[in-house]
């Protein structure tokens, strides 16, 4: 796969007949479990170009200064004095044990059968309790809608048989999206191949993320002890402050 980033897309399309069949005959009890969507991020292939950040913002009309996915970028100096760039593409982890769900006072946020964690915009009161509870800063309040906002794995695109916008726009093919219930999917095969070498963010939070990483340094998988250049930079809405 490594030389053919497009394979993730091809593999995805191969699952479509199963998806559509699943949608067409939902009542068949004996039907095998439907898809369970997940993402594998190969940080070795990420060049920190932020094409995914922009692609997502365009697709999902994110409000200014707020992002559903970002690529946090670090300048790292090793003990031997070698300097390099490290990246952590971040998005909602569509956790298996998502702390954002039980806190919602009105049950507006839930996990779908296909593993995608979503917000019911009709019900959300904008209390931001889920924003507090998410250990990954993956949620924010969209001030334009007054509701909780987060990555949906582009569920509207997935339902239409397309890949999430960030996967589609990734220049390096670092994001592999697919069905982990299907052992033949690209993501399942890659996860199997990298067994023991993948990581998730903040495993100690016990959330069982469904976004996996290859090539992620442990030191960058949570709060990072280090300086931040961001406070010196221009921030939308805070210029001149």
């Amino acid at each position: 796969m490594s030389a053919h980033p497009d394979l993730s897309r091809r593999a995805f399309f191969m699952t479509l007949p199963a998806v559509t069949a699943g949608l067409a005959v939902p009542a068949m009890a004996a039907e095998p479990a439907g898809p369970h969507w997940a993402m594998l991020v190969d940080t070795r292939r990420c060049i920190a170009c932020q094409a995914c950040t922009i692609g997502c913002a365009m697709e999902n009309a994110s409000p200014e200064g707020r992002f559903r996915t970002v690529v946090a970028t670090y300048a790292v100096t090793t003990e031997t004095g070698q300097a390099g760039l490290a990246v952590v593409p971040r998005l909602c982890n569509h956790c298996e044990q998502p702390p954002c769900i039980p806190v919602c006072p009105v049950g507006a946020t839930f996990k779908r059968k296909d593993g995608i964690v979503v917000v019911d915009g009709e019900r959300c009161v904008g209390c931001a309790y889920c924003v507090q509870a998410c250990p990954y800063d993956a949620r924010f309040i969209n001030h334009r809608t007054g509701k909780a906002d987060k990555c949906t794995f582009c569920s509207h695109r997935v339902e239409a048989g397309l890949l999430p916008a960030c996967v589609e726009t990734c220049v390096g093919g670092a994001r592999i999206f697919g069905d982990i219930n299907n052992p033949d999917s690209e993501i399942s095969r890659q996860l199997k191949a990298a067994e023991g070498k993948t990581r998730v963010l903040k495993p100690e939070a016990g959330t069982k993320p469904r976004v996996y990483y290859i090539g992620l340094e442990e030191q960058l998988s949570g709060r990072v002890d280090g300086a931040s250049a961001a406070n010196m930079m221009w921030q939308p809405g805070h210029q001149g402050a």
């Binding site: 920190a48 707020r66 992002f67 970002v70 690529v71 946090a72 970028t73 670090y74 300048a75 790292v76 100096t77 090793t78 003990e79 004095g81 490290a86 952590v88 971040r90 702390p99 039980p102 806190v103 919602c104 006072p105 009105v106 049950g107 507006a108 019900r123 959300c124 009161v125 904008g126 209390c127 931001a128 309790y129 924003v131 507090q132 509870a133 998410c134 250990p135 990954y136 800063d137 924010f140 309040i141 007054g146 509701k147 963010l201 903040k202 100690e204 939070a205 030191q219 960058l220 949570g222 709060r223 990072v224 002890d225 280090g226 300086a227 931040s228 250049a229 961001a230 406070n231 402050a241």
Partner: protein, 361 residues
Amino acid sequence: MNTTVEVLGFASELSWQLWAVQYFFLIGISTAAFFLSLPGMVWRLPQWRGVSRRALLVALVCGLTAPVALLADLHQPGRFLNFYLHSNFGSWMAWGAYFIPLYLLGLLLYAWLSLRPLMAALAERGERPAAFYRTLAYGGHDNIGAIRAAAIVAALGAVLVLLYTGMETMVVRARPLWHTPLLPVLLAVTAFAGGLGMTGLFEALAGKTRSAPLLNRWQELSQWASLATLSAWTVLVLTGSSAAANETLGAMRGSSGWLLTIAALFATTVLALWLSRTRRDALIAPALLALLGAWLVRWVIFLGGQSIPKLGATSHAYFLSLTADNLLSIMGTAGLCLALYIALTSLVPWDDPAEARGDQS
């Protein structure tokens, strides 16, 4: 890895703003003031008579303002009915939607039952508007049984409000400053300091300085309790064996802003303790310091707690910047408190000597 610099980080905004601080501050003071009203209004202890009545006024003013601040912190305030239509009882916040009305209805009933004899006395004396007082008095009986029953409802509501506000924040594992079992205790203890402070301030506004020694005795106790809980909370947050403690320590280490904030918190508490201990006759200074301490605790916990990054190294600035929304939350809640204070003190003369008749029964 030797050194790491986050060259491109993404600070998320603080999603609970000053409105939330104001809510937790006011509702805490209201519940504490309600409990301070019991010795004079229910147990009829003579030395508490005036103070307890003033405390009831504090409970009403702050209790009626607090939900407005809470609604203002919602980004969809018009949808508050969803709290009742789609309650998720696995969430402490959902319970809060029931505990707040329980407390406020209990408090209003208790206040009305306690004030009825006074209303009747005013109507009898022909105080204007007599008809209004007569209607409100509804016979004017001093029914201690009913007052006790209403006080029990309000007390249950107050305990539940204190419990849910503490638990709601304590359960958030992702916020290391919140996720400690001492947080509900710290909020409750400092709420009492604030409640005593606000009662003292209202007494001073009414020119009643005789209650200062009584209030300062209790203020001293509550400041000792605040100091002990605050110290235990700081020690637990910074030295606990949990990953959360390490995260907090990591984020605070070398941050002069944090050191200053923690120092200010302790300094305010120690100063309030010292003043209430050594100046038994002073009302305003210990009261203001106690209020400042109770507010600072909430400011540090709620806003400072949100400033510690969950991922990466970019911390979120939480210093009190006077944005339009921050100004509105401070001015708005202060203005509403003032309006309620004026309305309630104009309608009910809280020091009318006629009250004595009812109280001696």
